[in-house]
């Protein structure tokens, strides 16, 4: 009754071998490396780049321990951190000759030092969280309302163009809170406008209001449009963050959406939080608006009384100017921005490329406003700055725009970078920040490791003393549990944090429960006078129901933590839940397989080494001496 069919042994053996293989990479440690990846979407890192890296290193006579090309970029290993730093400088010089316009990201990294065949079968070391490797974690809140307002502003500009194209006269278009209100003088025009808008702008829900002379059409964003705009804003912001973080040179940045309106940014190894924050926090957007040059208006504005619908700004040169609040174009319409020179004056300039809608609007505006001035504003953190306010000389079509005037080459580079790195679709605030120094990370690993190790040793010693052979088997099963858990964590590349290590320790502490239950049951059956083979079988059978029950209740708690937890709690919950699964397998199947191997083959088993089985009424009897 205590024999497993061959396939069960094989299953256990395979599980353990796989567990061993996937745990293995964790023992090799990491070696310092430099990673070269592309800072631009258009630039691909390929075998050529790899050759260039090799040449550059040879030229600088720096020895490396291996070079590797993967989907992220070219990675080169070095024997120590000194060489790594030297190599980084050398590569930086070769790949980014101009500091202002980096083409490649050269970042320090750590690579697993495990042999190639392990890496080839995706056996990687556990993915360490920031609290173990050091780095910065930001949680950014995206201001969705801001995104919607911006969209409504640009939509109302679109509507104005549309109505003019259709030659429909209105008495004013404006945004009031979260709706656009268009005034009409007669019902007929309003009707036509409504049809025209319904045909052209699908994202608006239209409502007719007012009567007599004061007729209004109130447009609000449809819920699905709002949702889409929100999703787009997040996506756009994530893209922008990617571009900006590339400037920082971080090896493995994590930029992810969390919930409906938050973005998580994790920068392992980055210590300079101030710079990271500065770069993340730059919320520059571009706006093109018209300048109000009507006589007397500027003087009124300077006197603190600007005409309705205008704002006072100061140009880069220092001269004040009045800019209309109505936005002609925003950075959303921008597809590219490159620094360059004006072909006629040889002044530094930024060349902008607009998308098709932007190009159309720009063409219309320039056609209608020849001779007037147009202001190009950079809006950073709610504050605007007029970069330049050129006079429109002719109609500009084709969506290619040039900004020039009073800019140095460096400024042109900066503006282009800021604009190209993308404008954020919506403003963001940092709502959570965590910085962990590298020394603390290393300490945390050591603490977690020590706790687990000593706890494990103590439990093992106790189990072996108390349950003898069954104690050895229980301890082996517990070791198998640890092996499988670490293998699973490595395989899934789940993030391991300090609470995660605590969960490993705790899971082991709790997992021994199953073995204690089994061993106690076996002892009890022996006490009741059952023959050893039957007692083993009975003990396992009876304990199983209890083990299942108790693990399911623990699992319920673990799942609740996984669903509702965030940050450190989540790290704990993931390991805890996985640990419950592996502990059921190892405590029931692995330990049973071991017991069967040891005792199952003996037909006439008379004694079982499970420690002293005490029987009421008699003196203590050691099972070894039992008849």
């Amino acid at each position: 009754m205590n024999r497993y069919p061959l396939w069960k042994y094989i299953t256990v053996a395979i599980a353990l071998v796989l567990g061993f293989i996937y745990t293995l990479p964790n023992f090799f440690g990491e070696s310092p490396a430099v990673q070269v990846s592309s800072a631009k979407v258009t630039l691909k890192v390929d075998a050529n780049t790899q050759a260039r890296v090799e040449d550059a290193l040879r030229a600088a006579s720096i020895a490396h321990d291996g070079i590797l090309l993967d989907s992220v970029g070219v990675k080169v290993r070095f024997k120590d951190t000194d060489t790594q730093l030297k190599a980084k400088d050398a590569l930086e010089r070769t790949f980014n000759p101009s500091r202002d316009d980096p083409q490649y990201v050269i970042a320090l990294n750590l690579l697993s030092a495990s042999p190639q065949w392990l890496t080839a079968m995706h056996a990687l070391p556990m993915y360490l969280g920031l609290d173990l490797r050091g780095g910065v974690h930001f949680l950014l809140q995206v201001d969705m309302k801001g995104a919607l307002t911006k969209r409504l502003d640009s939509t109302s500009a679109d509507l104005r163009t549309l109505l003019r194209d259709k030659k429909l006269r209105h008495a004013g278009i404006g945004r009031e809170g979260d709706r656009i209100v268009i005034k009409f003088r007669d019902a007929e025009t309003r009707n036509q406008a409504r049809i025209a808008m319904g045909d052209n702008v699908s994202e608006l829900a239209l409502l007719e209001q007012g009567e007599g002379e004061d007729l209004r059409l109130v447009a609000t964003l449809k819920p699905e449009a709002e949702k889409k705009i929100g999703e787009f804003a997040i996506k756009q912001n994530i893209n922008t963050l990617h571009n900006r973080i590339n400037e920082l040179g971080v090896a493995e940045p994590v930029i992810q959406q969390q919930g409906a309106d938050r973005i998580v940014v994790q920068l392992p190894g980055v210590q300079d939080t101030a710079k990271a924050k500065d770069i993340l926090g730059r919320t520059a957007t571009l706006e093109i608006r018209m300048v109000d040059d009507s006589p007397g208006a500027l003087d009124a504005g300077l006197a603190g009384n600007p005409p309705f619908g205008t704002e006072l700004y100061t140009e880069r040169g220092g001269s004040p100017l009045l800019v209309k609040k109505q936005v002609v174009l925003t950075g959303d319409r921008l597809t590219d921005a490159q620094p360059g020179f004006d072909s006629q004056t040889q002044e530094a300039a930024v060349h902008l490329t607009l998308d098709s809608a932007g190009a159309r609007i720009f063409k219309d505006v320039t056609r209608d406003n020849v001779g007037k001035r147009m202001a190009i504003l950079l809006i950073e953190k709610g504050k605007g700055e007029v970069v330049t306010a050129p006079v429109i000389r002719t109609e500009i079509g084709g969506g290619r725009v040039q900004i020039s005037g009073r800019m140095t080459t460096t400024e042109a580079n900066d503006v282009a970078l800021l604009l190209r790195a993308g404008s954020l679709a919506a403003p963001m605030d940092i709502v959570e920040e965590r910085t962990i120094g590298p020394s603390l990370g290393a300490e945390n690993i050591e603490r977690g490791f020590k706790s687990t190790m000593w706890g494990f040793v103590a439990i093992g010693v106790f189990m072996i003393l108390y349950y003898q052979v069954f104690g050895v088997i229980s301890t082996l099963a517990l070791a198998a549990n640890l092996l499988l858990l670490v293998a699973l964590l490595s395989l899934l590349q789940a993030t391991l944090t300090l609470p995660g290590i605590a969960a490993i320790a705790l899971t082991l502490g709790m997992a021994i429960d199953a073995n204690v239950l089994i061993n106690e049951r076996v002892r009890e059956e022996l006490r009741n006078g059952m023959p050893p083979q039957a007692a083993i079988s009975e003990g396992y059978e009876r304990a199983f129901g209890t083990i299942l029950d108790s693990n399911i209740t623990t699992l319920i708690a673990g799942l609740a933590l996984l669903i509702f937890g965030s940050g450190p709690v989540r790290g704990f919950a993931v390991v805890h839940c996985l640990g419950i699964m592996t502990s059921i397998f190892s405590a029931v199947v692995v330990s049973r397989a071991l017991v069967n191997l040891v005792y199952g083959r003996q037909k006439k088993l008379t004694k079982v080494a499970i420690g002293t089985v005490w029987k009421p009424g008699t003196a203590a009897v050691n099972t070894k001496e039992q008849g």
Partner: protein
């Protein structure tokens, strides 16, 4: 080795009332501390900034305080953390814009007036996030309670589910009571520990209840208290050894885990100690008073049969 040489069933149920009065008193004391002192919530829940710095020599806390005071910080707390070289600085929330920058401002202040500090860790949590964490924590607790009750009710009987959850919630309140009484810091990882304990000590009740059910079915002619006594006595050795083993692990974390795991393992220690007590000596009497009897299992036998341990099937 055999620690537990028990001849007859220990008459636990005779003292049921005493056990429950003891735990009622502990419970009320915990509620008292929770109500009067409240929990010392960590930055994660309240929002604010926490900065840990390390000095090469023993840190001069007065100097650090002075440096912060000079820069116009208010309501800050400065204390040693783990060792005399590590300093923990806590700052309350300001307006969002200001708070996100406090980390750098503090480092500037320290570099100017209390030099030699190296930054170990900064944690900043905005007000909204803190509120959400607290809400999610409460929600997680609720889901765990409901989930366990539903599971136990379907697996056993409503009486068992109710008494197990009462006994274990009372553990949770006692852990919280300790944290309130000693003003230990209640952080997210302590919350994780509390929930883990909840799932874990329900185990204990499950093991005892399993035995109760088995004894009711197998042995005739025992009164309910006798059945309960028998179930507790025959599982007591497993209870102590299991909890002892878990406690060994927790102790190891308490000793080697450093400051970060300290309160986590402290919460687990309290939870494990009271978990044994309550799930055995509080849950069982509750089941008895709720009127559990043999008939419930005889009539239920068919309905429950597929899930239960198959008695004697393998003999």
């Amino acid at each position: 080795m055999e620690f537990f040489r028990i001849k007859n069933d220990i008459p636990f149920m005779r003292h049921a009332l005493k056990f429950n009065i003891i735990s009622l008193i502990t419970f009320l004391a915990s509620v008292f501390f929770l109500a009067t002192q409240g929990l010392h919530l960590s930055v994660e829940f309240t929002g604010g900034t926490l900065i840990e710095v390390n000095y090469a020599q023993s840190a001069d806390l007065e100097k650090v305080r002075g440096a912060l005071g000079k820069r116009g910080f208010s309501d800050y707390s400065v204390q040693n953390f783990g060792s005399s070289q590590d300093v923990l600085i806590r700052l309350p929330l300001k307006d969002v814009e200001g708070s996100a920058k406090q980390g750098e401002q503090v480092m500037e202040a320290l570099n100017a007036d209390a030099p030699g500090a190296s930054l170990r860790r900064v944690e900043f949590v905005g007000p909204q996030v803190g509120k959400e964490l607290a809400e999610n924590g409460a929600l997680a607790l609720l889901i765990v309670v409901i989930g366990i009750m539903v599971y136990l009710a379907s697996r056993f009987e409503w009486r068992f589910a109710l008494s197990a959850i009462i006994a274990n919630l009372h553990d949770v309140v006692i852990i919280l009571g300790f944290f309130a009484a000693f003003q230990w810091e209640f952080s997210l990882s302590v919350l994780a520990a509390v929930l883990a304990v909840l799932g874990y000590s329900v185990n204990e009740s499950v093991v005892v209840f399993d035995r109760v059910r088995e004894t009711f079915k197998k042995v005739r002619g025992l009164s309910t208290p006798q059945v309960l006594d028998h179930a507790i006595t025959s599982t007591i050795s497993r209870t102590i050894i299991t909890h002892g083993s878990t406690q060994i692990m927790v102790l190891s974390m308490l000793l080697f885990g450093g400051e970060t795991l300290y309160y986590f393992s402290l919460a687990l220690t309290i939870g494990i100690c009271f978990g044994i007590y309550s799930s055995v000596l509080v849950a069982s009497p509750l089941v008895m008073w709720l009127g559990v009897s043999r008939e419930q299992f005889i009539t239920q036998k068919k309905a429950v049969a597929e899930g239960t341990t198959d008695d004697g099937a393998c003999v």
